[in-house]
Symmetry: C2
Subunit: 342 residues, 2 copies
């Protein structure tokens, strides 16, 4: 008999709140067994929302009332102090109390990170949590972290990011020795800052499969399984890519609507272009893990729709099934023991 696990959802978070989270919850339950969902937020809003969706009673859904909502532009320090009964905070409390094995929120990243860190604490040996997600690559996907939790990072932090990414890649992809690269502006060993060179030394001396410096294009080239970087560089890389992808769609659309001939060509090409768009649909990559905490917290994009949010719940399910926090903790201890033995 399989144990049923619970994932807590911050229903009020994100740009669309219950309008997105509730349909996403139902979509997830329709595809996945082994998990119940705990809907955290304003009880009335949730009940009305579920009724509209014809799911007023659902055996695998429970409600946990929370009276407040963290705003998308609220300062993390304010959220932490004055929003102790927010849907975000209560969802994380559920993980802390063992009433859920993971939580998912589309709320304000800074507040989510600060609250998760305050409530759950970091794993022993981890100084700072990091935000990690998988991005499409020519050979499959690449795990990248940190994507914005920390704006500057010491060599030790970058080493920890490499290790956490490696554990996630191993756990989720079943890849026994994921390759790890450090994001830099050149591949030569002398390139980059002192911090990067010291981080490279730590990674080289570790049992991780460290392959050296990688550049921005390697995130998508399939050359490496895990890209470690500080949150500033990670966020710039990710956002720049999003902007360029939007520009490319814009140009494709414009070319196909230029005149009657290109419109006809567009009709013929449409199914193929749709298949292509599905392939690199950012919604399929929604759901970033906050790694390094004593519990699993998944961040959804604030503007996610129901499909995208359901994908973030799926990420939470995988992280729970593979025991990612426990694996990070034990791998980190092993790396530390090995480093001390040298």
């Amino acid at each position: 008999m399989t144990e049923v696990r619970t994932i807590a959802l911050d229903v009020m978070g994100g740009d669309h709140g219950a309008d997105v989270v509730l349909p996403a919850a139902l979509r997830f339950l329709g595809k996945r067994s082994g998990f119940d969902l705990l809907l955290v937020g304003d009880r009335e809003v949730i009940q009305v929302g579920l009724k509209k969706l014809g799911a007023a009673e659902h055996a695998r859904l429970r409600i946990q009332h929370a009276s407040q909502t963290v705003e998308m532009d609220e300062l993390p320090s304010r959220a932490l102090r004055f929003k102790k009964d927010s849907s975000m905070r209560v969802a994380i409390d559920m993980v802390k109390e063992g009433r859920a094995q993971a939580c998912v929120s589309a709320g304000n990243t800074g507040a989510l990170m600060a609250t998760a860190r305050f409530v759950l604490k970091t794993l022993p040996g981890i100084d700072r949590p990091a935000i990690c997600t998988s991005l499409p690559s020519i050979s499959g996907h690449t795990w990248m972290l940190d994507l914005g939790a920390n704006i500057d990072s010491s060599p030790e932090h970058l080493f920890q990011f490499g290790l956490m990414g490696s554990v996630l890649a191993r756990a989720v992809d079943g890849n026994p020795q994921p390759s790890v690269g450090l994001l830099n502006i050149g591949q030569e060993e002398m390139k980059g800052s002192d911090t990067l060179r010291e981080a490279a030394a730590l990674l080289s001396a570790s049992p991780l499969n460290y392959i050296g410096f990688v550049e921005g294009d390697d995130v998508y080239s399939g050359k490496v399984d895990v890209v470690a970087c500080d949150g500033f560089a990670g966020n710039i890389s990710l956002k720049s890519t999003e902007g360029a992808a939007k520009l490319i769609y814009h140009f494709i659309r414009r070319e196909f609507t230029r005149n009657i001939f290109t419109r006809i060509a567009g009709l013929v090409a449409l199914p193929v272009l749709k298949a292509f768009k599905r392939q690199i649909d950012p919604r399929r990559y929604n759901g970033a893990s906050l790694l390094g905490l004593r519990g699993s917290v998944i961040k959804s994009h604030g503007g996610a729709d129901a499909l995208a949010f359901s994908h973030a719940i799926e990420v939470a399910a995988v992280v729970v099934e593979r025991n990612v926090p426990q694996l990070i903790s034990s791998q980190l201890q092993a790396a530390i023991v090995e480093r001390q033995a040298v």
Copy 2:
């Protein structure tokens, strides 16, 4: 009567040397009057190359012999010390001596920057040169700098980058008040490092049209005319975009070759896709300016083909015609005077 100006070309630099630079030179001369070209490199290689192209004698081409070549992976300090007769160095010397008004090289970026800085010196008031290029955006293009000349930058450096980018945008685009943004990981004023916040204060207090922090996606969104950032962030942004664009082409190609039906769709869509590809062809954006020097130096991509290299020569021609170094110098003096007056 128009004065004829000269652009010096580093014939031996880049991955392909004379094989690319010579056809690019002829292509440029075929399209452009008002400029002669000075081919700098091994005289025999150049003469043989020109003969092959049927251009052994050309009224607008001269040769300046240089006996050495800077390797693509050579340390800048070594190039500076031991390659005083390299094609790169001599091309820059030509600018210094007033025998050319600009030079173009596809050689090693670090060596080019170090040599240009050593030979030409920075403009008064400029601490560090920056690499600047235009990138396609939804509404036209965006100027971005620094793209890798400096790995860390002080608030004052970032201010100077914003000013130099603004001057370039005004000179090349005829835009009277280009908007300037600082690359950050959020638009809120409290986001980012102390350095970025101090740079924001300097830009806000200046006569520049500073619009605040922008994010990675804004490089391509058309929201801002000039994006200022340190060279690490700029390089990560640019390379990440290149990687993502390659991935997107890969997926499009794969979808259109999946089976007989998609291949037929691909044939119909081909002209449209080609027009689209031309639009965002990185070769059309080849040619980055090294700004802040007492002379004009243009860096071509190392792997550029003849079309791309000829575009870099075109960038040099525009920079010369618009007197960019002189404009930067006078605008900078004006900004400094205004700052002291406050």
